[in-house]
């Protein structure tokens, strides 16, 4: 029995769910655990009341308050929400259990106050926990900590922020061995693993499942006619007029887009074409100022908005009661994300979550069918945890050294307890240390590199400059340098990447924060703007919007494609796409289930080889590299490679004499292992991975707002460091990490082997269409490309010279 919950629930007129009772009981007994429950069913209270109960059961007398609970969430907005809920309970029940926020927004003054006079509970983020570890006397500060709660653990698990959590936990457990750990997670494919990683291997905590089945209604918005609908494109604006009646028919609608620029475009188009939405429509994304976002969130709560165009910034947390409809623009790229977004509407028990799917190009229509299938079959992605992320470890070593310092032997033991560094060897650990102590393996004659210093057995950072620089760069999210967009009067609108602003001239107009703005001037890291009424403007594109379709959604899509040959019982989406499949047949071929279609087309770009194995983007990435390697052995060439869910494309200037016999060899499973290992050019993929690694490890320093000249002298992009390491320290741990990540996340050999085996049984159909086909077009227009070349840089340049002189 939980007396606090009982009173509270009675006063609110609520009835406790089973899972809440179970959680309260488990916490009472001092267990750790993972709670799996959907949003909107009181999962916060399930854990919170358990903690309160435990606190007052243990509390003897009125002594000085100490930090009792840390509640970690992935988002600041979510932190605020939890803070509000927890605070209301303390106030409503007149408890002396004090709750405070500790995020990037917390002022220096309140931070100092928290240090001297800590509250019982702090609501915070993984980065802020590390910042606390980076302060002096952090060990004493955490000494009496009883609970740590990791909210939305599924969101953190598959990212390096999850590694930050693992490391922080290993430290806190060492400080306080009786620490109880609770996680809260939405449904994912690997809940058990998620629990084990969070609690630790030896901790037999509980997995509490809510088992609440939520009803989800999915509807695909179809264009009036398929012929006028683009084969490729990413804006989806064509269906704008179809979305408007949906907005009208509901009380409050969330319109999710995949990127921030897409959100700006949709907002702009809605307001321009339907001026009656002025004041009723808002925009919300991660680059907007807190002020704007908080205003939007409050207005949503109060039901003052008809619709909000948003990105993943509204994926999590906060429930907006008035929201009764969700629109997803473009492929959601993953089933879990789609479900999560759908769940943003109708979150009260018993209500139906309604989601409309708006495809942005013809082939994407089929995903409507796939999404329904995935929802019906309860397909949910796993979140794959990062392992051996030495970049995060190096950051963490610095964090502790900036704080109280650390003993290397003890720390090695703690770190080895985490899932991420289970397999780390002492040598590897020493190598990380060496980088921080003398900048690498070797020392030169007059070198005065110093970061870590050994002071009486504890490694510490003594330079204040280094300490400050490190505190400013704690975290595992790497972004470009951001500039702050402001009005003349100083009002702050949000931040845009420096690279976008640098392309604009004074007087040019761009769309941001749902407004049309004219660039007046740039000062340091500030962009000064004024409102503009000019017709034309550009929309900033932000980095990081590129994510590919998850393997699980990919599987559902492949299931849908199997049905295109069915004569009856076709879904609405597939029936609608019939003319497109006929066009594909007319121009080329429509492959049946045991056929592999290969198209060879010449355009002004060169010779295109399109292959459609329907194996998912991940496999296609590797497969295309293998095929490029095998072709390159016949005749040296350079390929530009694009992939999507259905197939891949190799473009090259070099022409090949293709026939079915040759294709058999290209797709043969024999010598696959050798070809993957010797053939695939992972250099560029690794270089791209290295961008984040260098940022997290602390090689790339962004500088602070209004950075001085001296810090500018430290700026360089990660590409430079990649080259330096390759030239002077090719076996470097961070460099190896970049390559490992490519093999772990991009080129999975097992999956590739299976795919090649499957194709081996297929009949290969070679077609030479005159023009691009409906299948080819979306791949053709992929702007993100890999490159494969077995010509060296010099001979590629020689060819370039030839081309230029001929023209």
């Amino acid at each position: 029995m939980n007396q606090f919950a009982e009173v509270w629930f009675y006063n609110q007129g609520w009835k406790a769910h089973d899972f809440q009772q179970k959680t309260w009981k488990a916490i009472q007994k001092g267990h750790s655990g993972l709670l799996n429950a959907p949003t909107g069913y009181g999962k916060t209270f399930a854990v919170w009341f358990g903690i309160l109960d435990h606190y007052y059961a243990q509390q003897e007398s009125n002594k000085k308050t100490k930090l009792h609970t840390l509640w970690v969430t992935p988002l600041r907005a979510l932190s605020k929400e939890i803070y509000k809920a927890a605070n209301t309970v303390s106030e409503g029940l007149e408890l002396d259990y004090r709750v405070e926020l500790r995020t990037g927004d917390t002022s220096t003054a309140s931070r100092q106050k928290q240090r001297k006079n800590p509250p019982q509970a702090m609501i915070t983020t993984p980065e802020s926990v590390h910042l606390l570890l980076a302060s002096k006397e952090s060990t004493a500060f955490f000494k009496s900590l009883e609970f740590i709660v990791v909210d939305e653990w599924h969101e953190l698990l598959g990212s390096k922020r999850g590694v930050l959590v693992e490391l922080a936990l290993s430290r806190l457990k060492a400080i306080n061995p009786s620490l109880k750990i609770w996680g809260i997670s939405a449904t994912i494919g690997n809940l058990e693993e998620a629990k084990e990683i969070l609690l630790g291997k030896d901790n037999k905590g509980l997995l509490v499942k809510a088992n609440i089945d939520k009803h989800i209604q999915v509807e695909t918005i179809l264009p009036d006619s398929l012929e006028k609908f683009p084969w490729a494109g990413h804006l989806g604006i064509r269906l704008l007029d179809k979305v408007v009646p949906i907005i009208h028919a509901h009380q409050s609608t969330l319109i999710f887009t995949n990127t921030r620029s897409q959100a700006e475009i949709w907002y702009q188009q809605l307001i321009l074409n339907y001026p009656e939405f002025a004041g009723l429509l808002a925009i919300h994304h991660g680059s907007l100022s807190d002020e704007v976002r908080i205003w939007v969130e409050d207005a949503l709560h109060e039901g003052r908005l008809k619709a909000v165009v948003c990105t993943s910034s509204l994926d999590l947390g906060v429930d907006f009661r008035p929201v009764d409809c969700v629109v997803q623009i473009g492929s959601p790229k993953g089933v879990a994300r789609f479900l999560q977004r759908a769940g943003r509407s109708g979150h009260r028990p018993g209500e139906v979550s309604k989601i409309f799917y708006v495809p942005t190009n013809s082939l994407e229509i089929i995903e409507g069918d796939s999404l329904k299938y995935a929802v019906q079959q309860h397909i949910v992605e796993q979140r794959i945890p990062y392992i051996r992320s030495f970049d995060v470890l190096i950051q963490y070593l610095m964090t502790l050294a900036v704080g109280d310092g650390f003993n290397a032997d003890q720390l090695f033991g703690q770190v080895k307890q985490t899932h991420c560094f289970e397999s780390i060897s002492r040598e590897e650990f020493e190598e990380c240390m060496a980088m921080l102590i003398h900048g690498g393996k070797s020392l030169t004659a007059y070198d005065d590199f110093h970061r870590l210093e050994n002071i009486d057995g504890l490694f510490k950072v003594t330079s204040r400059k280094l300490a400050m620089r490190h505190r400013l760069s704690i975290g595992a999210i790497v972004s470009d340098a951001m500039m702050r967009v402001k009005f003349m009067n100083g009002k702050y609108l949000g931040s845009i990447e420096e690279s976008f602003i640098s392309r604009l001239k004074q007087g040019e107009v761009f769309w941001f924060s749902g407004r049309q703005l004219e660039l007046l001037s740039t000062r340091g890291m500030d962009v000064i703007v004024k409102p503009s009424t000019k017709k034309k403007g550009v929309i900033p594109s932000w980095m990081g919007g590129r994510f590919s379709i998850s393997p699980d959604l990919g599987e559902a899509i492949r299931h849908s494609f199997k049905n295109i040959h069915k004569r009856s019982h076709q879904s609405r989406e597939i029936a609608f796409l019939k003319p497109l499949f006929e066009e594909q047949k007319r121009r080329s071929q429509l492959p049946s289930e045991n056929e592999l279609l290969v198209e060879y087309i010449e355009t002004r770009y060169g010779h295109h080889l399109f292959v459609y194995p329907f194996e998912g983007k991940l496999v296609h990435e590797g497969m295309s590299q293998v095929v490029a390697y095998r072709l390159g052995k016949l005749k040296p060439a350079t390929f530009s490679i694009a992939t999507n869910e259905y197939g891949f494309e190799l473009v090259s200037e070099t022409k090949y004499e293709l026939n079915e016999e040759l294709l058999r060899i290209l797709f043969s499973p024999t010598h696959l292992h050798e070809d993957i290992n010797s053939g695939i050019n992972v250099q560029e993929m690794a270089k791209r991975r290295f961008r984040d690694i260098a940022g997290i490890a602390g090689l790339v320093f962004q500088g602070f707002p209004g950075k001085s000249m001296k810090t500018k002298h430290l700026q360089a992009n990660s590409g430079l460091f990649f080259s330096v390491f390759q030239d002077y320290d090719p076996s470097n741990l961070l460099l190896r990490e970049a390559f490992d990540e490519v093999f772990d996340f991009q080129l999975e050999e097992g999956r590739m082997q299976k795919a090649f085996n499957r194709i081996n049984d297929h009949h290969i159909v070679l077609s030479r269409p005159e023009k691009l086909t409906p299948f080819a077009f979306p791949i053709f227009s992929e702007s993100f490309r890999e490159r494969y070349s077995n010509e060296d840089w010099q001979s590629r340049l020689e060819k370039l010279k030839m081309q230029l002189t001929l023209e």
Binding site: G440, S442, F449, S640, V651, N717, Y728, L800, K801, L804
Partner: protein
Amino acid sequence: MAKRIVLNGLECFLLPQKVLYIPQYGLLVVSDWHLGKLTHFRKEGLFIPPVQIEEEIGRMELLLDELPVQRVVLLGDLFHSEWNEDWMQFTLFTQRYPRISFLLTKGNHDILANDHWLEAKINVVPQYLLTEGLVFSHEPLPDLPSYMVNVVGHVHPGCLLKVRGRQSFRLPCFHLAERILTLPAYGKWTGVQVLPRTEGARFFPVINDEVVEI
């Protein structure tokens, strides 16, 4: 292979070593070397392996040994930041060429103390002028008479070439527009900034051992 261009009647060669050579004056112009950059990074606690700069100096020595050079104009950003040991090596290098005069038109990165320039026998000047109306400076000078040509560095110009087979190349280049000739950065560890293809601008990318106009 070098590219020959004529500026105000003066014959100039754009060399694939990313330098400018003017035979009539035996003048070699070198921009944005950014010496000492990586050592500076290490000093500031960025853990990169120690890097030798002999190779970069060696490349310059090759040029000086092959061409009849009387004067080297260093067009700014010669040294990346505060003093470090790399400067000693550079000093030894200039001492090996007592007959060549070294001039520096200071760039925004050149914050070394005067003694250090002297030590390397470098004459620091605000700009350098040839009678043909060529004026050398780190950044473009304001209000120049219209007959003058300003030779500058600073931006590390590059261009983006897109060719068949969906290939693209980002290459360092010489850039000539509105009587301003911008030199590519000489230093090995410098980036390039792709300049837009504006009306009337001429691009001379460095492709292997050749400078080509596009």
